[in-house]
């Protein structure tokens, strides 16, 4: 008899967890993991593997879990994905591996992400440390998901890698963006430490394009460069009042809270005091910002111009936010931010919107209603409507060809317009997911390894 539903993920109580930053999803127990692994049918055509951006051999690792060979399971995952604890937590499995699981024909999919997380958290990794080839060095720019993935694969193939990071600590969006309650920083540290053990070197406080130019990396002896500079530049709404005190980009708010630990008594970075927060936007970043604000004690409302069905955030994140008493003001579009004489936000003026009948493409448009605008009282507005690629490196590297939105152009092998310079992640695609960035980093690593191998043969 097959268990029709996923083995539930134990969660911290919503009314307790919305007051601190400890992790929300507590992780499977050993029994949970074995139980869930038993739900995998070990089907022969394994559609899940093809719908994983890095093609983890999912049935094989689940079989190892089922047979209580956890360390084997971890080795299997590590063949294609170096960050199981991270991906198990933040991947949108419901639209990737789990969406094609054979089980979904009648039941719920196997909880692949939860199993991956269990293995990453509990199994012991066998690391094969060998001396790295110092004559073929790779420079990786940015220590976010794409850079880390590229560095890992290059080091595993035996090449020396230096990762340059502009911030004072590594991890990129994993560090400054995704909050502790969704991705504990100890987990990030643990998985990045695997790279250190392999011999990857990290240099913080270096801005490529400022401290060191891209071309100089080759003069320094690097033979290949990977650009994983991310999509860091926040977009604002361009409405009146956006310069008021209390209006933040989600980036700034999350960086203050997650990265600079603003609000914690012994840290210097300040936070504004206030009672209410309005978060504008409906993506995962908006959910993260809202749930952080809630934990800091603000009454928090998400303002989104479409309806619940169109929220781009993962359903799980939306559910968690709702359980934690984050409020939702849907079909509302900000018109203006109102401030007092000191320039501090007092409210946000919104237009009530409505969805049209679906057009030929099946999509509903959102249009203003004839209702008069309404005001939401608030002292903080967090703008979470997207980001664009960081301009520093692009502006200083004239030969680097870019697209309309400032994204770096690459070919199918992640090669940019400059020889031996590769790129991937959000800097190429615009804001996307962690796992897609990992995939791009891996693809670039494969291109770099191929180039090195060919050069050696030639």
């Amino acid at each position: 008899m097959i268990q029709p539903l996923k083995t539930p993920m134990p969660l911290a109580d919503a009314e307790v967890r919305n007051k601190d930053f400890s992790e929300v999803a507590l992780g499977y127990t050993f029994e949970d993991a074995i139980n869930e692994a038993n739900r995998c049918l070990q089907c022969l055509h394994k559609p899940c593997v093809a719908s994983c951006p890095v093609n983890v051999d999912i049935p094989k690792f689940i079989l190892a879990v089922k047979e209580n060979r956890m360390d084997d399971a971890l080795s299997i995952i590590h063949q294609t994905n170096c960050f199981p604890s991270i991906c198990g937590r933040v991947c949108p499995q419901e639209v990737q591996c789990e969406s094609t699981c054979v089980m979904t024909k009648r039941y719920q999919a196997v909880a692949i992400g939860r199993l991956e997380r269990y293995v990453g958290d509990h199994a012991k990794l066998r690391i094969d440390v060998k001396p790295l080839n110092q004559s073929k060095k790779v420079a990786v720019v940015g220590s976010g998901p794409s850079g880390l993935a590229c560095a890992y694969d290059c080091a595993k193939a035996g090449y020396a890698v230096t990762v340059f990071e502009a911030w004072h600590d590594v991890g990129g969006v994993l560090r400054y963006g995704i909050p502790e309650f969704r991705l504990p920083k100890a987990t990030v540290d643990k998985e990045i430490d695997v790279l250190r053990q392999l011999g990857v070197e990290f240099e913080c406080n270096v801005v490529i394009g400022r401290t060191i130019e891209c071309a100089e990396l080759f003069e320094m002896g690097y033979k290949a460069v990977f650009l994983g500079t991310g999509a860091g530049l926040p977009t604002f709404m361009n409405i009146e009042g956006e310069g008021s005190i209390g209006v933040f980009s989600a980036n700034e708010f999350l960086t203050r809270v997650n990265f600079m630990k603003a609000g914690q008594p012994t840290y210097d970075t300040p936070l504004l005091t206030g009672k209410r927060v309005v978060v504008v936007g409906g993506g995962n970043v908006a959910m993260d910002a809202a749930r952080c604000a809630k934990r800091l004690g603000y009454q928090t409302t998400i303002v989104y111009r479409r309806s619940l069905n169109e929220l781009p955030a993962r359903q799980e994140e939306v559910e968690h936010a709702m359980e934690e008493k984050v409020e939702f003001e849907l079909l509302a579009a900000p018109l203006k931010i109102v401030a007092d004489a000191q320039g501090r936000v007092t409210s946000i003026l919104c237009q009530r919107m409505q969805l049209t009948e679906p057009g030929a493409d099946g999509r509903c448009k959102v249009v203003p209603t004839s209702e008069a605008p309404f005001e939401l009282e608030t002292d903080t507005v967090i703008v979470a409507i997207g980001t664009s690629p960081n301009p520093i490196l692009i502006r200083s590297t004239k030969e680097l060809k870019t697209g309309k939105w400032g994204t770096i152009n690459v070919d199918l092998n992640q090669q940019t317009s400059i020889d031996h310079v590769y790129a991937g992640g959000d800097a190429v695609t615009g804001a996307a997911t962690v796992i897609e960035a990992l995939g791009a980093g891996k693809k670039a690593a494969a291109s770099i390894i191929e180039y090195f191998t060919k050069e050696h043969a030639g």
Binding site: L233, E252, L272
Partner: protein
């Protein structure tokens, strides 16, 4: 970690530090800034590079001890290390073929205006330097300014030394008298820069100001440093911090810079208590 090589007290509230940062020194130009984090619990804050030396691999920063972070930085001495320093950041405005530039510094702003005067002088421009201070005890870089400028002028708000009045008084006089001025660079308190921009607007002379909004990363990530320039917002860290003074919305920036006044006071109080 970056080692402090030398520390000098320029006046009761202004400190100069030479910091070992060879990579930054190799690239630094007038108008660039660095982000500093003094210790593990510190905030990140920008300081403009006052001078740099490729040969010794050092940069010089000059700062006023005004808030929590500068109090913390001032607690360090030669041979101590700051936790993090990153740069050179910003997009310095490049000036070419300038005939006569008026460089204006207000208080500690003189430290940032000075490298501009030096750079312009190297390009054979005539440089008038107007340095304004609240009173005679707050003078910094007087000798350096005298040496570099073709026409040095000094003012004090209270008349305790040299001419009593504001930098704009001298500026107006020069502009009325001399018609070869083709650039004004003003660096100092926002109110001073605003006043300078108002004067030069009537004379229609290109005016560059250096803004000091609140920043977190300094690399285009947070948007906290956005300033209204004409009709659009620009990020001071990647688009500035130098802008056309005639287009800057100084009033909004003035308000924005006051965002954390209460928190800053609290931090300063804690640091004071900590010292006792």
């Amino acid at each position: 970690m970056a080692r402090i090589i030398k520390k000098d007290i320029l006046n009761s509230g202004v400190v100069s530090m030479e910091i070992e940062a060879p990579r930054i020194a190799a690239k630094a130009k007038a108008g660039h800034f660095v982000m500093i984090r003094v210790d593990e619990h510190g905030e990140r804050f920008p300081l403009t590079i006052a001078d740099s030396n490729k040969a010794t691999g050092t940069i010089r920063v000059i700062f006023q001890v005004v808030g929590g972070s500068t109090i913390k930085l001032n607690r360090l001495h030669a041979k101590d290390e700051v936790r993090d320093i990153v740069g050179p950041l910003g997009m310095p405005v490049h000036h070419e073929n300038i005939k006569h530039a008026i460089v204006i510094g207000g208080g500690v702003g003189c430290a940032i205006a000075y490298p501009h005067a030096k750079a312009l002088k190297q390009q054979q421009a005539k440089v008038s330097f107007i340095a304004g201070f609240r009173n005679k005890d707050l003078f910094i870089l007087e000798e350096e300014i005298r040496q570099i400028a073709d026409q040095p002028y000094f003012t004090t708000d209270d008349g305790s030394a040299y001419r009593k009045g504001f930098v704009t008084d001298v500026l107006k006089e020069i502009l009325e008298k001399e018609n070869d001025v083709d650039l004004v660079i003003a660096i100092g308190p926002l109110l001073m820069m605003k006043a300078v921009a108002n004067v030069t607007r009537t004379f229609n002379i290109k005016t560059v100001v250096s803004l000091n909004p609140i920043m977190i990363d300094g690399t285009g990530m947070c948007g906290g440093c956005r300033v209204k320039i004409g009709d659009e917002y620009k990020f001071a860290c990647v688009d500035g911090p130098e802008f056309d003074g005639h287009l800057v919305d100084f009033d909004e920036l003035f308000l924005r810079n006051s965002a954390y006044v209460q928190q800053e006071k609290h931090l300063c109080k804690l640091l004071e208590e900590d010292k006792q």
